[in-house]
Subunit: 349 residues, 2 copies
DNA sequence: GTTAGCACTCAGGGAAAGCGAGTGCTAAAC
DNA sequence: GTTTAGCACTCGCTTTCCCTGAGTGCTAAC
């Protein structure tokens, strides 16, 4: 038995109708939506074939048909019409991203909320460097005899600073020495190596200075580690409650717990494709076995990359979600391209 | 009719039993829990009195009794036994707060999650200054001819920095001039005044410098505004789904939306008392009319103050929540007292 | 290959019945 | 006056049963 064009057409109608109503779709309804060209009896024959081929399922004998994961997959791969965003939708995205680009974390969490509100499903957002970061430059600003501000400049122009307190007094003249030492020995190296280098210079400088030094390096290590660790922000878990498949509080609770407490297990594809759709059992995590995830990637500067994902029931409006999500990803890429949050790395390096 | 000791005792049992089981409490159960000193018939008479006095309600004729908000209030004010935290609970709190004290925001959001997990209800956390903040000191670190790092030191030793790009080249020798200007004209003032001062010096310095100056001041304004604005973090909304009163998805959704989208309306008492309990209709927001909120405050340094709140059904285990919450608040206060995140303000000022 | 017709299936909804926890009242006991 | 046993009554909840109707699968005719 082969998959004729008409069968595909019917599958498409079933998916779209089921997505809309969340109710199994009957032969009559399909015949109606196909313009009455064929009768419901014909449709029934076709439906039986589609079920046998594994594209449709039947909740029980006397109910309509529901797409199987395989059916959704075919729909997504071949049948789905690529939607374009309307002008007002594009405007909505831009509006949502019209935020002060302060820290990356904030942008990401704001983006998460916005995406979720935009697609009406829970969403998650991440950003991670493609290679490990390193300190580009150190600076120390004396505050008083016992404390100073450590300024650490990372790649991509990210700057962080913190107040340090040396327990022992340090001469102001010593600071340039320390800064020199920091910049000559502790720049350009990955976090793991910094502590080794610290050990190497341990004996060569007086204790008060070393204390400050190690505090600064420790701070830098923290920053690098934090920059390397990808932070995952989830938003809009509450959207689940609007869906009929999650009216059951236990089910909703389970997935929400997953979204908030085990974010790390959310799918984070490494490959570079612009968009990925995981349907039901295609998901690795058990908790996502009967949900679908749509993931788009966006660029942050040259070598950082982020993901936006949307989690929903397998009965998801893939066409709309895909369109909106990729619109969002594009907007983010554009925004990071033009904005000053992460200026281009200096060429002279 | 007066409120005898025995009536109070019965009310206490009703509250505690109802909190435990979420089911209306019957006369027999009460008699049993009071050691069989009186019969259920006697209890019934007392229950009728308590209902008439407004401390109890009856969902329907043939059901047991349920505390009214007034009943809970009496319980909280007079009847509730102040619980002490067990050693393991104290340890659990300390464990949860054993985090790197990086930025205030992170500490707060981590604390929110921890509190929520600890009491099994949604929680929220805030921090706000008691008076408006001001910049204590500026510093500019040249990076190359066109950009520099602005370091802004606020009260309480909070330091923030950002990379600025002047569109026009600036001589390195000019930076100390600029820093002087910044420190002499733009420190100690509230955010609102900074822009006025910027106008005053506008004509007196060359454009490239002024550009950098205004960027720096703008950055400082943002920081001050951000520091003044109290950020509210909510966590653990999903805990609601475990409660029988929120098995209804719509109800849960409504409260969750409130918790995530209209946080600002959560109760934030101004008065200094260490703990506040709002029961059902005592809440101002409609969305909280049949929930209760328990709020504790903690100190951050000398003149910042934070709140932790817990939101739950009126049928809340007030004794335990109150004990755990105040334990948490104490732990936070202690932590901020000893930690270096916000060192004491220098006395010489 | 398509269609009309028809018997069959089965979830969902509503009515009816039974159950049981709990009440309120009365009258007797303390 | 307070407490208690006894008893009739109430009423939400659960179960059962029946009915309805949407939808199917099959067969036979087109």
């Amino acid at each position: 038995m082969e998959l004729t064009d008409r069968k595909k057409q019917i599958l498409k109608v079933v998916v779209e109708e089921y997505v809309r109503t969340a109710e199994p779709v009957g032969s009559k309804a399909i015949a109606a939506r196909m313009g009455g060209a064929v009768s419901s009896a014909t449709i029934r024959n076709e439906l039986a074939d589609l079920a046998e081929l594994g594209y449709l399922e039947q909740p029980h004998t006397s109910a309509g048909r529901v797409p199987s994961p395989r059916g959704y997959r075919l729909y997504v791969n071949e049948l789905m019409e690529r939607q374009k965003l309307s002008l007002s939708e594009t405007e909505e995205i831009n509006q949502a991203l019209r935020i002060k680009m302060e820290e990356l974390d904030r942008v990401i969490s704001q983006a998460g909320r916005a995406v979720s509100a935009f697609v009406n499903y829970p969403a998650y957002v991440t950003a991670a460097g493609r290679r490990s970061a390193a300190v580009r430059r150190f600076e120390l600003l004396p505050v008083d005899g016992e404390s100073c501000i450590a300024v650490v400049m990372l790649d991509h122009g990210r700057v962080k600073s913190q107040l340090l307190r040396a327990q022992l007094p340090v001469e102001v003249e010593q600071f340039p020495v320390l800064v020199n030492l920091l910049n000559s020995h502790f720049t350009g190296a990955p976090a793991g190596e910094l502590n080794q280098r610290l050990m190497q210079v341990a004996g060569q400088i007086p204790p008060p200075l070393f204390l400050l030094l190690s505090q600064t390096v420790g701070y830098a290590c923290d920053l690098l580690e934090e920059a390397g660790r990808r932070e995952i922000v989830t938003a809009g878990a509450k959207e689940l409650l609007k869906l009929p498949e999650f009216r059951d509080a236990d089910k909703a609770h389970e997935l929400m717990s997953f979204l908030t407490d085990r974010k790390e297990s959310l799918p984070m594809p490494e490959d570079e494709g612009p968009m990925k759709i995981l349907i039901g059992p295609e998901n690795v995590s058990d908790a996502l076995k009967d949900t679908s995830v749509v993931i788009a990637s966006y660029d942050i500067g040259q070598d950082m990359r982020g993901l936006i994902g949307v989690v929903g029931p397998t009965r998801m409006d893939y066409a709309t979600v895909a369109a909106r999500l990729s619109g969002f990803a594009d907007a983010l890429t554009r925004m990071f391209g033009t904005h000053t949050l992460l200026p281009k790395e200096e060429p002279k390096e």
